[in-house]
Point group: C2
């Protein structure tokens, strides 16, 4: 049994589906992707659940439009922030 932050799952899948999968990131190196995730997650409320109740709760969260639109809003901000000042080493 462990605790899981549902918001982290939503950010992960939205980043994959709406950005990486569509080639919408200026740079998708591991450093930039993790920095985008960290910035977005630090601007979103945590939703920790303990795993036995996780599956049902996670499903309910995935269809919660408000949290999803919050996640997309914060991802857009984070992607813009990282794109304008990436921490990766150029050409790496």
């Amino acid at each position: 049994m462990a605790v899981v932050n549902v918001t982290e799952l939503l950010v992960q899948s939205a980043l994959k589906d709406a950005y990486i999968g569509k080639g919408r990131l200026t740079c998708d190196c591991a450093r930039c992707v993790e920095d985008i995730k960290a910035i977005a997650l630090n601007h979103l409320p945590p939703h920790y659940v303990s795993t036995d109740q996780g599956v049902a709760y996670v499903k309910a969260q995935y269809i919660d439009p408000q949290l999803q639109s919050d996640v997309l809003r914060e991802l857009a901000f984070a992607a813009q922030t990282v794109s304008s000042s990436p921490r990766h080493i150029e050409g790496s």
Copy 2:
């Protein structure tokens, strides 16, 4: 490279050192411990970092008295909440 919520690390070690290690929980079954963690984490600001910068940042966090006292305050509230209405099955 992955993102880590520093607050989760602090809650984990404070729960172990200040509660479980000192026998201060009414019940320390996995269900109660995870519920206490989830409740505490949902009342604390996330501090996500990407792991390459994690070690140094995590150390700085561990000696940040304000976040530590916030963690202890929320753990006390969460332990009280779970102790008064545990979700485990009695005698399990």
